[in-house]
């Protein structure tokens, strides 16, 4: 003890001991004895090994015996029991001291307390492991369970738990506390989470740490069941801290329980802060992942309902990403790698050039543009698609993103609608002519019937022996009367389209023509008629019956279209011209390049019942002419210099209608 060197050795802030060449301890410094609480006598020889943690004893023994037998340095980390029974980590290093002969004379061993370092390291690697779990998207409950276990392992005597709150922050969604029995946490998810429930409620409400150093004697919850419940599980203290998101939203409660009373040390507070933070990252990550999943599900559903797919094409890497709905529209197997070629293969052969052109445009200028294109599916059905595309530039890389919408059903219904509309135009034209024809037939057939019957009777009376001259005279007179009646019917029909039935209004001939064209657009398209318009800009309005005028225009356009049906060796061009003539008439001419008419045809064309069509009524042009003439205009036809014919009408801007006898202007009878 009086040896100065030994005083130094005893004062060293480390455990020091020496051993013989055979490995028997023969000296231990004061610090060793103080730390372990063992006497020198207890520790001599291999006696010191009783303080080594049972789990580390084997490695310590092996390392020590190895050093003794080989003379190599002794180095090992192990836990050593202190006088208070608590184990701490030590780093033990021993080197041999050799005599002049080179033989080992003695071993000296230095043991340094690395417990703090060891714990910090374990904590760091534990935190790293937790953050990795978060980053890898492991389930939140798994991450939080690991988090609690890590705290329990790091802070002696502490039992961590995490209360997860729902979005309202008012209800407990889940409790995690692997170090404590589940019965500790008797929260009900249908009950609001209030201050009265326990320190967690208070902590949640105040958004700050609530320390209950002595559950048994804390009066704040004396009226509630919480203290008794905690005490029943052997818990004496509880420190609750709020887990807050970055924007300050309450996510949950991090609580540490202990089986003894007390307040958190600086170390505990550091751990609490650190673990609450990791928990908040884990919870926020899980929440945003949920939100992302929900929004992805929404998007997929919306895409499905609206038959819209989306895609992105990274021009640099060539990587193509398609949404589920995009694959469904293109009927592509998403499991197979998506290439431009696979997409192009689905495009309708007639539209492939267009698609390639679009792809080329993307590559060169990368602008925004929309286009329509068709797909031809393996079962030969055609799909109509609308593309809307745009480019995003990021770090000099162009990513091309877009949406594609399947408009097939819309397109088909549009087409069906147009067909119906065009058929309707046809039906109404035919029906109006048909009704008219039936009325005319009825009106004319009545007097004709009388004429024929009377004439037959007359003949019979004259042929009788003796002839009945008076009867014959009477029937002959009736024949003449009925003949006049028939003529009267015809003239009455002509006045049908005269002043009394005309509703006069100011009509823009150009607009009226465009309306008719719109009505029969599909019909003309079907007949592959190319319509050229040459309309006068300065056309004044004309006073006329709009509906009747449009009937005439419709008739001329359909006639022109039908006249070109046999034309296969040249375009079926229809030229519609409007003009304001010098004599203040407005004129519309329809020129076709069809089979044409001869000069002799021209007059017969307008006679009633003249038709070149097998199923025609031959009434169209005759009625059209009546309409135009009732407007004091004229309707004419002339053969073209080239193929086809031109039909045109001209009507004065202010027509003076023929004075017409009102009594004869009644409508023809129609069949009931």
């Amino acid at each position: 003890m009086n040896n100065p060197l030994q005083r130094v050795v005893d004062a060293l802030p480390a455990l020091v001991w020496t051993a013989t060449a055979q490995g028997d301890t023969d000296f231990l410094n004061q610090r060793w004895r103080d730390y372990t609480g063992l006497t020198v006598a207890q520790s001599l020889g291999r006696g010191w090994q009783v303080a080594v943690h049972a789990d580390d004893l084997t490695s310590v023994t092996i390392a020590w015996e190895h050093a003794i037998s080989t003379g190599e340095p002794y180095e090992v980390e192990h836990r050593l029991r202190g006088a208070d029974g608590v184990y701490r980590w030590f780093n033990a290093r021993g080197v041999p001291l050799r005599g002049p002969d080179g033989e080992i004379a003695q071993w000296s061993v230095l043991q340094v307390d690395i417990d703090e370092q060891k714990r910090t390291h374990a904590l760091h690697s534990g935190e790293k492991r937790l953050l990795k779990m978060v980053a890898r998207g492991r389930p939140l409950a798994t991450v939080l369970t690991e988090l609690c276990k890590l705290l329990d392992a790091t802070a002696e005597g502490c039992f961590a738990s995490v209360l997860l709150l729902d979005r309202s922050g008012k209800r407990v969604q889940q409790v995690i506390g692997p170090g404590l029995p589940a019965s500790c946490f008797n929260f009900r998810d249908d009950e609001p989470f209030t201050c009265a429930a326990g320190p967690f409620g208070l902590s949640a409400q105040q958004r700050k740490q609530v320390v209950v150093a002595d559950i048994e004697h804390d009066l704040r919850w004396a009226d509630g069941s919480w203290p008794a419940h905690a005490l029943a599980h052997g818990l004496k203290s509880c420190w609750s801290s709020p887990i807050l998101s970055l924007p300050g939203e309450l996510l949950g409660i991090f609580a540490i329980y202990r089986r003894d009373t007390g307040t958190p040390s600086a170390v505990h507070q550091g751990l609490t802060q650190q673990f609450s933070f990791i928990a908040s990252i884990a919870i926020e990550r899980a929440q945003s992942e949920d939100a992302l999943k929900r929004s992805e599900a929404f998007l997929a559903r919306a895409q499905h309902i609206s038959a819209t797919g989306s895609f992105s094409w990274h021009l640099g890497s060539g990587e193509i990403t398609l949404s589920q709905q995009y694959c469904r529209i293109f009927e592509l197997d998403p499991a197979e790698p998506i290439t431009l070629e696979r997409i192009l293969a689905r495009v309708h052969p007639d539209d492939r050039a267009l698609m390639r052109d679009m792809i080329e445009r993307v590559r060169t200028d990368g602008g925004d543009f929309d286009f329509d294109c068709r797909l031809l599916m393996p079962d030969q059905t055609v799909k109509y698609l609308q593309f809307a595309n745009g480019a995003i530039r990021q770090n000099d890389q162009i990513e091309y993103i877009g949406a594609v919408r399947d408009v097939t059903s819309q397109r088909l219904s549009d087409e069906a609608l147009n067909t119906v509309r065009s058929e309707l135009a046809h039906v109404s034209r035919v029906a109006s002519l048909g009704t008219l024809t039936a009325s005319i037939a009825h009106e004319v057939n009545q007097p004709l019937s009388g004429i024929i019957t009377n004439a037959s009777t007359c003949l019979r009376m004259l042929g009788a022996v003796p002839p009945n001259i008076n009867g014959a005279l009477e029937t002959a007179r009736r024949t003449i009367r009925d003949g006049n009646r028939a003529a009267e019917v015809i003239s009455r029909l002509r006045t049908l389209f005269s002043k009394n039935l005309i509703s006069a209004e100011a009509v823009d001939l150009n607009e009226a023509t465009r309306e008719v064209l719109a009505l029969i657009r599909i019909e003309l398209q079907k007949n592959r008629v190319v319509v050229h318009l040459d309309m006068a800009d300065d056309l004044p309005p004309v006073t006329c019956d709009r509906v009747q005028l449009q009937q005439v225009i419709l008739n001329l356009l359909l006639n022109a279209s039908e006249a070109m049906i046999e034309v296969h060796d040249r375009p079926r061009v229809m030229l519609i011209t409007t003009a304001h003539d010098a004599d203040d008439c407005v004129r519309l001419a329809v020129r076709d390049e069809g089979t044409g008419i001869t000069a002799q045809d021209v007059e017969r064309l307008f006679g009633a019942f003249y038709t070149t069509k097998a199923d025609g009524m031959g009434m169209g042009l005759s009625i059209s002419r009546s309409i135009i003439e009732s407007h004091n205009g004229q309707l004419l036809a002339e053969p073209n210099d080239g193929p086809g014919a031109t039909f045109w009408f001209a009507i004065p801007r202010q027509p003076c209608f023929d004075p017409v006898d009102d009594r004869s202007a009644s409508l023809p009878r129609t069949e009931p």
Partner: protein, 122 residues
């Protein structure tokens, strides 16, 4: 030879009621003419008529409706329908029960044949 046979002509058109009876009398039939089906049903001729020349389309009771009414009253009179509506493509609005139908205008020969055939069915 047909002096005893009474034919009723029912047509709302006056020229038919005027001309057709003269022709039928030339054929040798007795003729009574009526402007409507209702007038015929109300007349004494109803029980005596052996053949009807009946306009199909008339104001009030139509030709086929009169035919139905006669069947209902058990007057099994043969009928020759006449009509000015020449649309042969349109189906008849009411069944004509095998009766013939002449389209106006018709010839005296067609009328004679139709009446002969109708009377044969009696």
């Amino acid at each position: 030879m047909n002096a005893r046979v009474l034919i009723a002509v029912i047509d709302d058109d006056e020229s038919v009621r005027e001309s057709l009876p003269d022709l039928l009398r030339e054929f040798g039939y007795e003729v009574a003419a009526f402007a409507s089906a209702e007038a015929f049903l109300a007349s004494d001729s109803l029980a005596l008529t052996q053949c009807l020349i009946l306009d199909r389309v008339m104001p009030g009771m139509s030709g086929p409706q009169l035919q139905e009414e006669l069947i209902r009253r058990h007057y099994e009179v043969p009928i020759v329908f006449i009509t000015a509506y020449a649309d042969r493509r349109r189906p008849h609005p009411l069944p004509l029960r095998g009766a013939q139908c002449l389209i106006k205008p018709f010839s005296d020969g067609d009328l004679s044949l139709a009446i002969d055939a109708a009377l044969k069915d009696r």
